[in-house]
Subunit: 790 residues, 2 copies
């Protein structure tokens, strides 16, 4: 029995109801050197959940859709840690347990990294096979994708990536590869498979795990900021998200697998954390693992471990101590290492879109790069506004009741429109890679149809006029840009797993490539303009359109997500282009500023606001002048629900619990004086009274509930009920004159759930996180009632 280990350190123990007790916070203070045993309050040692076997179920846990109390959870963890450190000296088993506890953080992130890498490999392999299935099948082994199939056939020359082993669908039906008949058969198979995949994906999500839809990043941001959504990171969500993601990516919809990867990694983090009670049973500690998992998710999505850590730090995480930084890095690195060992794409380069340009960028090019940033910011703002408008319409109209039908309609439209245009037909990753590339000797795409002869592999590429192929490609790219923008607006938010990193990158890469070709042809036709007179006056090609595509991609992604440092780092890990940090940063900055000027929120924050999650953004500064007194509950003419420290009966307390719905109640000296003593949670109060009725004899509705106080409460029958063990004697308080900016700061930095407002020591009211969020909304002229949860 645990309470035998308790000893008093300081002399501030209190006698309540004839018992000798320690106040709640002080119970943490047992050391081995003190000698007053405290065995006489059996039954209410309930805060030590996680350490003893006989704890009341549910204590220390939170209800669904509630905010967690970081301070309380962290305090619980430190207490548990001290208990283990102390026990360690008792026996070898305890020593091993202690060592296990000390290492469990590292072991847990190691497991998360390994599992994330493996799952990412499975998704990559599955998605690439099924994407190719839309076009044909391998004669030799149907489970090979086109690339593997052609490798195994040992042929030396491939025709557009096709080989004799790879059967396209027209070939299966005896048609030739080319010709109108073949085209129609291919078209039909393409649409057919897309619809099958999409229908499967949407049905799975609808039937088994509704939380598996979307990218998951807005919800994960909210969860990491200290909110409970049960099942959002559970095993069913994980399984369905993995399967659904493979299907939805393969269906050719305008979506990416990068955002959902973060969700999948977080699910793995959540599930694996249950192996380690230190994390599984403590919501605040669990979020350290989830932050690391989010980093691993981005790391495997882009092969960018450092970018992943910075993404987790900048975009997703809320509470990010430096220990977490180091563990996140470890986790991200392990995940990337495992994925690279699996090598699902079978290529040599360790980066996804490896680029190598012959020419460095020239200083004057910063002007078009900033221009691209502005264009990217505009595209991103249009996308966000249109997407939010459509999602709101879906939410409040009948459309929301037919998710599978919606997915099928969007898939059909996407497939029908996408197939005829080669740039929308191909895999989006391939498109980005093609656009990032520079036109070399081996590139036969129409995009590289320049009037030039390659005489020597190593000689510089000469400047050349664009020919018909390039102009045709530009028109197709403009069409592709419009189609992708419109389809992505309708796609992001449908009920299948879908991310928008890849679509955003593609939009930007298309815009960038078009601008790049424009600047290049300008430099060719007007080499005398002062801008081009320096570096571009020689015959060599001085402008690389591929670099513009890369910069444009960063600009749009930056505008959509409002990432900054992590975006630049991801881009340079993604492409291996260390030399291009300055252009990338110029474009990302321009895009972010344009985005901030045109619309305040990034896509994730906009979706958080749309769903009414209680997310207190740590990036926005609170600029208003209100005081704590303006925000606190109750407002004027209402009375505050309080409990007195030693004068209310069990019946009084139960009536209060029935009549009000607060999550907790301040405890005061007396109703008249209102001097603050502490704070007690509704949940604890309910559990403690129920427990006392069961275990302590003679407790009736007339028993006086005693929380604290050195006075002499009634000792006669019925016996009084000591509840000092559930009283938090160290609630965070502010005065009524405290500016709200300070209060908001305290909520953010200390992770508060509520704070008590006092004036000259007297309790005036309570401010909860919900009150703060509503106040922020109100001050920003938004609807305060859009904050939905506690």
């Amino acid at each position: 029995m645990f309470s035998e280990d308790l000893r008093i350190v300081s002399d501030s123990s209190i006698t309540v109801c004839g018992h000798h007790v320690v106040p709640m916070m002080q119970a943490a203070q047992f050391t081995a050197s003190d000698a007053v045993p405290l065995v006489d309050y059996v039954g209410d040692a309930i805060i030590f959940s996680g350490m003893q076997d006989d704890d009341i179920p549910g204590i220390g846990q939170y209800d669904d859709f509630h905010t967690i109390d970081w301070q309380r959870d962290i305090a619980r963890d430190r207490m548990r840690h001290r208990y283990i450190v102390k026990k360690r000296q008792d026996s070898i088993l305890d020593l091993i347990k202690g060592a296990h506890d000390a290492w469990s953080g590292w072991v847990c992130v190691l497991l998360v990294g390994v599992c994330t890498g493996v799952v990412a490999g499975v998704i990559d392999i599955g998605a690439s096979w099924m994407t190719d299935l839309k076009f044909g099948i391998c004669r030799q082994a149907f489970w090979f994708n086109r690339e593997q199939c052609c490798w195994s056939s040992n042929e030396t020359t491939f025709d557009h990536g096709n080989c004799s082993q790879w059967l396209t669908w027209p070939q299966m039906f005896g048609e030739s590869r080319e010709g109108p008949g073949a085209y129609i058969i291919s078209y039909i198979f393409y649409i057919g498979w897309a619809l099958v995949f999409a229908a499967l994906s949407a049905s799975l999500v609808r039937m088994f795990a509704p939380y598996a839809c979307g990218s998951g990043i807005p919800e994960i941001k909210t969860i990491l900021s200290g909110f409970i959504i049960r099942g959002y990171l559970g095993k069913w969500t994980l399984i369905i998200k993995v399967v659904g993601l493979i299907l939805s990516v393969s269906s050719g919809l305008s979506l990416g697998k990068e955002g959902p990867m973060v969700h999948i990694a977080s699910c793995l983090g959540n599930i694996l954390s249950y192996l380690f009670p230190k994390y599984g049973r403590n919501e605040a500690k669990k979020r350290e693992i989830l932050s690391a998992a989010a980093a691993a998710g981005v790391s495997v999505a882009f092969g960018a471990p450092i970018g992943g850590v910075l993404f987790s730090l900048e975009e997703v995480s809320y509470y990010f101590p430096l220990k977490t930084l180091w563990r996140s890095f470890f986790c991200a690195l392990i995940a990337a290492f495992i994925l690279r060992s699996i090598n699902p794409f079978g290529n040599e380069h360790s980066v996804l879109f490896f680029v190598e340009y012959n020419k460095p960028w020239i200083f004057f090019e910063l002007i078009p790069f900033v221009g691209l940033g502005i264009i990217g910011g505009c595209i991103a703002t249009i996308f966000i506004k249109a997407n939010i408008y459509w999602c709101r319409y879906r939410k409040y109209s009948k459309l929301g009741q037919y998710p599978v039908t919606e997915v099928l309609v969007v898939t059909l439209l996407t497939a029908v429109i996408a197939y005829p245009n080669p740039y929308t037909r191909m895999n989006t990753s391939q498109l980005i890679y093609l656009l990032f590339n520079q036109c070399g000797i081996s590139n036969s795409d129409p995009l590289c149809d320049y009037n030039r002869n390659f005489t020597d592999v190593n000689s510089a590429i000469e400047k050349a006029a664009a020919e018909a192929g390039v102009y045709r490609a530009i028109w197709q790219l403009v069409l592709a840009l419009a189609v992708k923008l419109v389809m992505t607006v309708f796609t992001f938010g449908i009920k299948v797993p879908c991310g928008l990193f890849i679509p955003s990158l593609a939009l930007g890469a298309i815009a960038g490539r078009i601008v790049g070709i424009g600047v290049e042809q300008l430099a060719y036709h007007y080499p005398k303009i002062w801008l081009f007179s320096g570096e571009c006056s020689t015959g060599d090609d001085c402008i690389t359109p591929g670099l513009y595509a890369m910069v444009g991609a960063a600009a749009v992604l930056g505008g959509v997500t409002r990432m900054t440092v992590s975006l630049v780092v991801i881009m340079f890990e993604l492409t291996g282009g260390v030399r291009y940090i300055v252009p990338l940063m110029a474009a990302a900055m321009a895009s972010k500023w344009v985005g901030d000027a045109l619309g305040r929120q990034g896509i994730y924050d906009a979706h958080i606001a749309l769903n009414g999650y209680p997310f207190l953004d740590s990036k926005d500064e609170f600029q208003h002048t209100s005081l704590a007194a303006d925000v606190m509950q109750p407002k004027r003419n209402e009375t505050l629900a309080v409990i007195t420290q030693d004068s209310m009966t069990v019946d009084d307390v139960e009536t209060l619990l029935k009549e009000t719905e607060h999550n907790g109640y301040p405890v005061v000296v007396s109703k008249e004086s209102q001097y603050l003593v502490g704070f007690v949670l509704r949940r604890d109060l309910n559990l403690a009274i129920a427990n006392a009725r069961r275990t302590i004899e003679g407790i009736t509705g007339q028993s006086v509930v005693v929380f604290a106080g050195a006075g002499n409460p009634p000792t006669g029958p019925p016996p009084c009920l000591p509840l000092n063990r559930i009283l938090d004697m160290a609630p965070i308080t502010v005065t009524d004159q405290t500016p709200m900016e300070t209060v908001v700061d305290m909520f953010r930095k200390l992770g508060l759930r509520q704070t008590l407002v006092t004036h000259n020591g007297r309790l005036l009211g309570v401010i909860t996180k919900k009150d703060v969020l509503r106040h922020v909304k109100q001050m920003d002229n938004e609807d305060p009632n859009s904050v939905l949860f506690n």
Copy 2:
């Protein structure tokens, strides 16, 4: 006059002494829409420093060696911001002022970046010229270093980097280049120049800027955590540090220029921030610029912008909002870009120690890499313990009185010992580069004396036995390791600018190279061992000793500084070796764990503790169980110095100010009840009373000082003195039962200077940052009196 713009927003204004007034914190609440002018308290609108011309000098500033109050400074900045936003509508000039204010953060970091890049270029050029001056001089132009001299001479073959234009000192005296006479002349010149440079450096530091010595990183960490050291970042420190750094680096002492670069960049940040009142006049905001400057310093030191930002985040900074992350990145990038444009070394590669290895690392090599990590951790711990022992001896003995003599003795010893060994004679950066390199066809150093023939440039390097040259080199390296370790112990802490990044890297690189050669020869002689049976069974060389040098360098640096993520990122930006993140991380982790196990602190934290700076580390967790009541002042049997809200006279207050030395006083309702009203700073109280005596007629020693309260204070002559404007009505309070872990957390996260301790609303005591620091020391069984400052 500013106070005419004040308007009351809420209705909680108070009537004091017959005047209509607003409490301090609420004064922030002026908006344009309200209409009650408040012109009747002229003279005490003193908190609006930074906005008006007639503010009392010194208000809002801090004394030297004092801790800043982050909450107060941030609140002041928000108030100033709101004032500017409001004024913006008044005139075009104000609009421009507003725009200037909004942009000033970016402009300031831009300037800091540019200046840091330029200064770094000057230092690099100066140091490389003067380092070569120890060996000879350029015939053509004495201001060329050896490399520039030989370039300008257009010779095609160089003999060990020498050319006919470059005159070594023996040649100047008519001797040949080789031979015993030449050796002696070279030796004497080497020692002579070294002593001249060191003497100059030490004298300059001693005479003009004592703060310019050392690396400066411990002090900058302390300053960034919210401490004032006047002059530490001033212009004289800057100038002397730059000149002294060039001299001390050139003198051949075992020190680097990387740490001082951070100090130099921070000086630039501090000086340039005075161009922008937003930052120059607000200590909390200024630290945002200083964080960015620190990032720029590391960025130019290593050519590693991302590593610089992470170093600033992980190691140096304390308060690091995300906006600062983005600005730091910008600043670091600009600085690196400028330095690269100056191109002081004239080489092509954008990284300092560019490496390219033919072979990837093999999985089993993780074992020696982790071994290197452990060796690195041990070397680092020996270094830290010895260095701290010696610095403490210097501090408390007569040695400290002869700094210049000490520098000369250390320089003489270093020069005498270093010259005979080629690996200690050469520039430390060159040594590191040599050790990192793999033995290719062009490398003629004894380290590459293997029994192999290069038949083809492109063929793989074959495995080969080491010959005599390698074994001789190993002995020289072992000696060099011992000499460098001992000399660095005595060097770090002498009174010249000196950093220890480069010496640490060199120590590790030597150890790593030796281990690497050992493993390589093991693989050559015993290729059948199971470890080597896989990748090493072919004839090709499978072990790259240069990689071991790189890993060893990371291990020692990691052990010395306890950097983690930033270390790995710096190493990979430094070498361009993206493929080697996993080995680097394995070694860095092993080294950090060994270091943490053997001695708790990194070198910077150890120096902070040695100097007694009030630095509250945000990385250490507070593990003890004490309560706020155990830490607060006054202890039992002492009384707390308080001021009552409306019953003390000016004489009473002045007596209290004379008799006590606290930095601030709590204001209570009355001495009897002790209910807390607010907090007033000593400095403000002094200034306000002095000001009132000057400006308000009839104020005498008998005037009652009124801070707050709705009561009726004596109105008769002498008139009472309203001081509500300097009263902070929103002090942060905790209850006496609050665990110290929560209190420490609040001090860290909210940047508090003090907190008030209450029980049931009554004031019990005060906890200052110094109390917290002393308590932490006491709990860790260290001397609490080693905390020196407030």
